[in-house]
């Protein structure tokens, strides 16, 4: 008998893809930097007392009045860009993860229950979700963000609303397959409560496709958050996320002060591409059709 755990086998296979391995390293590195931002960044960009307007819009490598080098330059408020990016990543990842987790829980529950209950309930839930999926997520998020106003939780609400449908659709598909398996019938003949059948039996068996969607959707919600912030519908100006940093620097692009927009943009792209590369490999490994 094969004694290795499924997780160990999964990791053995994952390791064989160099690109995914490097991407995973990048994601972990960026996450670690973001978590450690308050410790490692030279400046607290949210503390207005720390900002020196004299140092605003300085190019990379400039040694500021506080005596440390601004390796990536400063923005229009005199923030050290490296610090702002680290803090921005922290917020972006945080919001991406929270929104992703809530959308996962909500969508998966809804989709699995729809598949389990069947009949009219299923038809109603799935039609609503189909309808929602026919709009671009950005449009929905824009409208909601505009309605709910600025702040972390309104933003998360907008992101969740825009994204839960993807989880619901995936969970519904997987749960419909699981629903027809004998172990569900066994639970029904015991009988167990519907909630236990769904949460303890059906949903855990739907995890592989949901995890694939989750990796992609976390990247998407980070991008979406950046987009909303870029358009001024995201977080307040005092807590700049990556999107807002890009937006703030945008007006200086043509005056040669490229760094204010470019560096936060690069950080965002590297993060999103890395998450997607990891997600691709996870998807390839979990998709039985691609298995030889």
């Amino acid at each position: 008998m094969d004694r290795s755990t499924p997780l160990a086998r999964f990791w053995d296979e994952f390791r064989t893809n160099r690109v995914a391995l490097v991407a995973l390293g990048v994601v972990l590195l960026i996450s670690a930097l973001a978590i450690a931002a308050p410790v490692i960044s030279p400046q607290n960009p949210y503390d207005l007392a720390n900002l020196v307007l004299m140092d605003a819009r300085r190019p990379p490598g400039f040694v500021g009045s506080k005596g440390f080098t601004h390796w990536l330059g400063t923005d229009a408020q005199g923030r050290d860009l490296l610090s702002a990016i680290l803090y921005g990543l922290r917020i972006s990842i945080q919001i991406g993860l929270i929104a992703g987790a809530i959308a996962f829980a909500l969508g998966a529950t809804l989709g699995a229950f729809a598949a389990f209950l069947g009949g009219r309930v299923e038809a109603l839930i799935m039609r609503i979700i189909d309808l929602q999926l026919s709009f671009p997520a950005i449009l929905l998020a824009l409208v909601l963000a505009a309605l709910l106003g600025q702040g972390k939780w309104p933003l998360i609400t907008a992101l969740v609303t825009a994204q839960y449908a993807y989880f619901a659709r995936t969970a519904h598909g997987a749960a419909s397959t699981e629903r027809s398996k004998d172990y569900v019938d066994a639970a029904l003949s015991t009988p167990l409560k519907a909630s236990r059948v769904v949460f303890r039996h059906i949903l855990p068996n739907c995890l592989p496709p949901l995890i694939v969607v989750a990796t992609v959707q976390v990247a998407n919600s980070i991008a979406l958050e950046a987009t909303l912030s870029f358009l001024g519908l995201g977080l307040p100006v005092t807590e700049p996320s990556l999107g807002m940093l890009i937006a703030n620097g945008f007006q200086y692009m043509l005056s040669g002060r490229y760094w204010i927009s470019i560096y936060p943009g690069l950080a965002l792209i590297i993060l999103i591409v890395a998450i997607n590369l990891v997600g691709d490999q996870v998807r390839d490994q979990l998709n039985p059709r691609l298995k030889r």
Binding site: K181, D182, L192
Partner: protein
Amino acid sequence: MSETRALVEIDSVSKRFTPSVSLGERVAAWLGSPIDTRTVHAVDAVSFDIRNGEVLGLVGESGCGKSTLGRVIAGIHPPSNGSAMIDGLAVMGSGSKPLKTTTRIQMVFQDPFASLDPRVRIGETISEGPLAHHLVSKVDARAYVTRWLLAVGLPAEAADRFPHQFSGGQRQRVAIARALAMQPDVLVCDEPVASLDVSIQAQIINLFLKLRRELGLTMLFISHDLGVVRHISDRVAIMYLGRIVELGPTPAIFANPRHPYTRALLDSVPKLVTGSDELVTFKPIQGELPSPLSPPSGCHFHLRCPFVQARCSTEPPQLDGRHHAVSCHFPLSDGE
């Protein structure tokens, strides 16, 4: 056989499956495209009793509705018509979305690879039902699981493992332990040995015999394997295209089948005879199994029956007879 009271009563149970028509198909139908809305009568007004303490074998070929009937009795599917009752109480509650209300009937499935949740440890698989129905407290759950594992011939350590760490025969033992842990009066077994190897089949059949002796279980034993059913059952019901065609004591069914289908079915199984020159005897039934979508009129078997007469194609026969019931206009007599 002594007449004991009926524990399970199946009262003209029917189960129909109508394909659900989606909005798109409705539009297609409106535009003139043909769509399939034919109803499958998987189980067609079936009535019989299972007596307290007996093993009733239910035999039939694939598509005859025996599995569907088993699932209706076990409370997984609600019947379209009629009711399954245990001790006079319906297995399923009423309402538009009926739910199973009793724990006194439990089920063992054919494929132990599909009937155990691959992500749940054996111990939890066995204890979750009893915990949910307060048959055991959380504190005693571990000992309770051990008791049932030992009863089905598995070591107590099995509780901490996952299904994939076991062979087919061992998994079927787990599935049996799960059903027994609910302390049922009736066990519905749907082809419980069909997916097992020959040498393992004997072990599981012996386990059923032992459990029956020790726990006094009443069983509905569904199988296509006549040898297994003959060995384990007190009475046998033969099912053909959704209807019971013959029901009687096992020795009578096998020695003197009265329905032409039962006779043909018994003849068509290759039988090993040792100590003779003709090693194996069997005789095929003519024709194909008709589609349950469009069963023949009258007696469903009349197209394949060697004794068919005019009346058989128009008038469906009724299951008739007290001890040895047969649903045939012209039943075979003894020794024919």
